[in-house]
Symmetry: C2
Subunit: 129 residues, 2 copies
DNA sequence: ATAGGGTCTCCCCTAACTGGAAAGTCAAAT
DNA sequence: ATTTGACTTTCCAGTTAGGGGAGACCCTAT
């Protein structure tokens, strides 16, 4: 199938599918006139890539996961390690956001939000404070 | 003072200070030879910008906050609105990460992580599942 | 006079695409 | 046979918020 149909089937923008071909993530064959041709295997990889991206894996991680996906002799330990790295990253990020949210919530709650100029949010950011 | 001293005082990389000048966020005057000259007001803005960025505000939000910071007739409601938008964004992001973490944690926990190839993580990503 | 350190502009690079322009391909309708 | 229209191609530029480095310029100290 052509790129449009493959993109629809994988639920990805055509631009993204073309980009994945450019970077060698999912590489279709070409027709005589140069059109990209996607078979069932390539379609499966596109869907795999979309789902992995939705899990927050980077393109390079998706590349690793795809190569493990295709490797009949892979060990699940290799996959697990990549997923664990991602999980740690998520937890780091959540810890950051939790701290930010706490302070920002406090500031927003203590700001009166009226027509007057005094504001704890600005005071917290201003250097003279 | 020159850019190096200002950057040190504001605890920002020189490159960043120069970038802020380029985009008109904190604009110093120039010496006869073209060197950027930072006074106390500009230094205060650099510090303000660094703190606001650390709170996760985008450059454009920092621009808004700086203009409110400088406006003696501002209303705290305007500041509060920007902070609330940021807070909602943080909460959206945390909700996403919470869901991701839950599913990824489950997958990692159920993956044996040994030499064998079967792996629930890949099964979850593969389209045939 | 020169060595050094600081500064200047300019350009390319990052991630993961997105948007647009100009040109080529293909099937169907005229 | 031609012309439309949909689809595809490549290439270029832009997005965020800077980072890295080159080559040139400025200023001070020795």
């Amino acid at each position: 199938m052509q790129i449009g149909e493959a993109a629809k089937a994988a639920d990805l923008p055509v631009k993204t599918v073309r980009y994945y071909a450019d970077i060698g993530l999912v590489t279709p064959v070409r027709s005589a006139s140069g059109y990209r041709q996607y078979g069932p295997a390539e379609l499966a990889k596109l869907i795999f890539a979309r789902r992995a991206r939705a899990f927050g894996f980077s393109i390079e991680e998706v590349r690793e996961l795809l190569s493990l996906y295709e490797d009949r002799n892979r060990s699940s330990a290799d996959v697990k390690e990549i997923a664990q790295r991602r999980l740690e990253e998520i937890e780091r990020r959540m810890a950051e956001l939790t701290a930010l949210r706490a302070e920002l919530t406090h500031l927003v709650d203590t700001c009166r939000g009226d027509h007057r100029p005094d504001c704890p949010i600005l005071s917290r950011l201003a250097p003279e404070a």
